[in-house]
């Protein structure tokens, strides 16, 4: 097969893939736009959960892929670098987003019985946004981390 034939093949295939990508992207974006996002709703929710305490960045590690191909199922891990003993442990991990129709994602309640403060799940992101995790410790302090996920094809909203 001489080189020109291969080049045609490749360019034709690229055109097809590109067209398919655009088509699916367009359809999903139109469907998700319906629900308005209330900016700052996530901050209000977090304040309610932790009684208005200020969160200090640190101890918490929130991991989500930088680019999420499919907003319907984005893997997320939250771990807290903190002992899990009766004297000092992570009581709760709260996760919110700043650009989904609803800010809440989940709240996880832990105790020394867990031995390690790390959870993993899969979440929906309607479009590019920040995901924020708060961790409440048994001494009452609150720590946080946040990460941005760029979403190419939106999930059907939170």
């Amino acid at each position: 097969m001489d080189r020109s034939f291969a080049r045609d093949q490749i360019s034709r295939r690229l055109v097809l893939i590109g067209a398919a990508g655009v088509a699916t992207g367009f359809v999903t974006i139109r469907k998700v736009a319906a629900q308005a996002v209330h900016p700052g709703a996530h901050v209000e929710w977090l304040n309610k959960l932790v009684g208005g305490k200020k969160a200090t960045p640190g101890k918490v590690k929130l991991h989500i892929p930088e680019i999420a191909e499919n907003g319907n199922t984005v893997p997320m891990t939250v771990s807290v670098d903190n002992p899990m003993t009766a004297a000092a442990y992570v009581k709760a991990i709260h996760v919110v987003t700043d650009n989904n129709p609803q800010p809440q994602v989940a709240s996880f309640y832990l105790s020394p019985a867990n031995g390690k403060a790390e959870i993993q799940t899969r979440i929906r992101l309607a479009e590019t946004m920040h995901v924020i995790a708060y961790a409440e410790l048994s001494d009452g302090s609150v720590w946080s981390d946040q990460a941005e996920a760029k979403v190419t094809i939106g999930g059907c909203g939170g």
Binding site: T73, Y109, L110, T121
Partner: protein, 106 residues
């Protein structure tokens, strides 16, 4: 009928901190989607998840529509005595999905 699956690591010894992987089939209808003729499909999700180890609650989660369909949740657990882990997912409609998994601790 919903299917629940739990994965525990093999040969667990007392005191090990083991990762508990859980999966349950559920559409997690977020209330954001529309059906063929543009009507919003009402929200219907699993909003609570609890794990009890030999009868004592060791993990609880409150879930919201942002959790993906067929929720996959993992957490960690200190291995104590052999026995059973009971998992309960609660649906918006009040019904529950229950699953129990034996834990063998050497």
């Amino acid at each position: 009928m919903a299917i629940a699956r739990v994965r525990l690591p093999p040969n667990i010894k007392k005191g090990d901190v083991v990762e508990v992987k859980t999966l349950v089939t559920h559409p997690m209808e977020s209330g954001q989607r529309k059906d063929a003729n543009g009507q919003i499909i009402p929200r219907k999700i699993l909003n609570k998840f609890v794990c009890a180890y030999n009868g004592r609650e060791v993990f609880r989660a409150e879930l919201w529509p942002a959790i993906s369909a067929n929720p996959f949740i993992t957490f960690f657990l200190v291995a104590g005595d052999s026995g059973s882990l009971k998992f309960t997912w609660t649906d918006d409609d009040g019904s529950t999905i229950e699953h129990s998994e034996e834990i063998h601790v050497a």
